[in-house]
Symmetry: C2
Subunit: 331 residues, 2 copies
């Protein structure tokens, strides 16, 4: 048995998914969709070890009709609203989807109507749709939720992700405002371009998982100011400038903070890690030393989820609804 796949979106994340999936036994790309590199070989663009022998097309309708994949691996935008029509086109052909769209990870609280429409559509056409990635999709939602399984009761849950941005891709360093003044940083925040997308969605998934009916979600974004010079291959940050971002989200009920997510990404972070802190019976403190490498892990989550999504009952689901997603070894 092999999984026939189409890649939809061949940017850096899409290409990393293609590189990984094409190396797995019994995973076969039968098509690729993008607005750039049209007519070029997917294997060359994505620098795969094994050439899937597929050309990139800008015509989703034709590609999907002709190749009839079991699943589309989708990586085009962070915005659920932006991709809705793309998903609709895929679903109406009876094809499952796993997408890296951050807002798709759990939009049932933030974009209720759109999420309901998508769920209805997926059920009507008998397909499964999942939004995933390492964050949102794992580190600040599925993982903390999973760790609560050993608890008899819970009062508060906190997830922390601290990344040393100097090890990440240049677009990521740019995105978190490394090297900007406080004024420039705040302008980027105000314009909506400097923001980790997914905090509210992750809080929503955790709350739904434990059955908390939250009153509201609060988010703050502020710069992490460099105290000493910080460097990467991309930028040098002077003391007083922003080395990156600190973004915090709270889920509240009756004025009480029940969920806290703390996301920090900046150049020179001294002890990068991922952690979950549960106040409950018993308390649980779990730490991933050094943290999880975002670029590697997002492609991993997407590819590892493929068999589970194909075998799941129809509907628009989230990571909390799937059986355990575990690694698919290359050999």
């Amino acid at each position: 048995m092999s999984y026939k796949m189409v890649q939809y979106g061949c940017g850096p994340i899409g290409c990393s998914i293609v590189r990984l999936a094409s190396a797995k036994p019994n995973f076969e790309f039968v098509g690729a969709i993008d607005l750039v590199n049209v007519g070029k070989n997917l294997g060359e663009i994505a620098e795969t070890e094994r050439d899937p022998g597929v050309l990139i097309s800008d015509d989703p309708d034709t590609v999907l009709s002709q190749t009839k994949p079991e699943i589309v691996l989708h990586a085009t935008s962070s915005s659920f609203e932006v991709i809705f029509d793309q998903l609709e086109g895929i679903i109406k052909k009876g094809i499952n989807v796993v997408s890296t769209t951050e807002e798709l990870s759990y939009p049932f609280r933030e974009q209720t109507d759109l999420a309901s429409s998508l769920d209805k559509l997926a059920k009507e056409y008998g397909v499964t749709v999942l939004g995933t990635g390492v964050n949102p999709g794992f580190l600040m939602d599925a993982w903390p939720l999973f760790m609560t399984g050993v608890c008899q009761d819970i009062k508060h849950i906190k997830a922390v992700r601290i990344q040393d941005a100097s090890r990440r891709r240049i677009p990521f360093q740019k995105k978190i405002g490394a090297g900007t003044t406080t004024e420039e940083f705040n302008e980027l925040v105000d314009s909506g371009t400097l923001r980790h997308v997914g905090i509210a969605e992750s809080i929503g998934m955790i709350a739904a998982g434990v059955g908390w009916d939250l009153d509201k979600i609060l988010e703050t974004i502020e710069p992490v100011i460099a105290e000493t010079e910080a460097r990467s291959d991309y930028v040098t940050v002077a003391p007083g400038q922003a080395a990156g971002v600190k973004q915090i989200g709270h889920g509240l009920k009756n004025g009480e903070k029940l969920i806290t997510l703390e996301f920090q990404a900046y150049l020179g972070a001294e002890s990068p890690h991922d952690a979950v802190y549960i106040k409950g019976t018993p308390d649980v403190e779990v730490v991933i030393k050094g943290g999880v490498h975002g670029d590697l892990a997002t492609a991993a989550m997407v590819v590892n989820a493929i068999p589970k999504v194909i075998n799941a009952p129809p509907g628009f689901i989230s990571m909390k609804d799937l059986p355990l997603v575990s690694v698919i070894p290359s050999i």
Copy 2:
């Protein structure tokens, strides 16, 4: 909506399950089965906060027929063979089961025929059967498996559980041989009474999850010898005596160790913890500081799994097949 439950087995673990489940909103005990304390009030025996108003009976057939629960919470023995008839009786009445029987956590490799029979039976009667607990069921199988989800590839996976046994129940301290001479310890091992049950099952679950077809599983058991005097409320261990047990299991393929589980429980363990070490792309190292409290967490896993088991498709499943099991808050 409320879940109607019957407790089957009212020993220490069964009672801890009853205490927890009876405190949850919309969870209702309608019956209880045991061979001792027959005719006594379950609430008194289990010391529940809220009296479920149920008497203990030694007649499973009558209790299950009359009370028609949605699920049986089962805690009678570690042995799959011993409990098979008990499970058969429950399943044939069309009732779901979640059980603490260690060998039930993943017997598809160790007791293939019995596991297949149970799966067939569960499907025939349209019910779901799950074996779970904190270990096996979480710490050395479901959790390590879940953590591999962020990996692009994997070479080796190791789970370590180091417990300070002085914090556990007296029967647990006795079970691990605390205070025995090496000779006595080895006699207990030879007689089969000194053994953490579940290592082979946990290795089997991990292997099945990542798709490794193992050639064999090797297990060793040895005493942890006290270097200095170690004490608990139950026993004083002299230097040279066994303070507890160190049990290691390996899953091998083509002579190569792919899975390693290391279980240590002894009086005076200095840095108790649970950990997962994955060699892969990327490497992952995760540590639960202080470790998870076994007695609290086993009851938690059983109770938290209830809604997922009731809603799962029919069959004999394992923790890797369920959607994420997360805490059910008391309020």
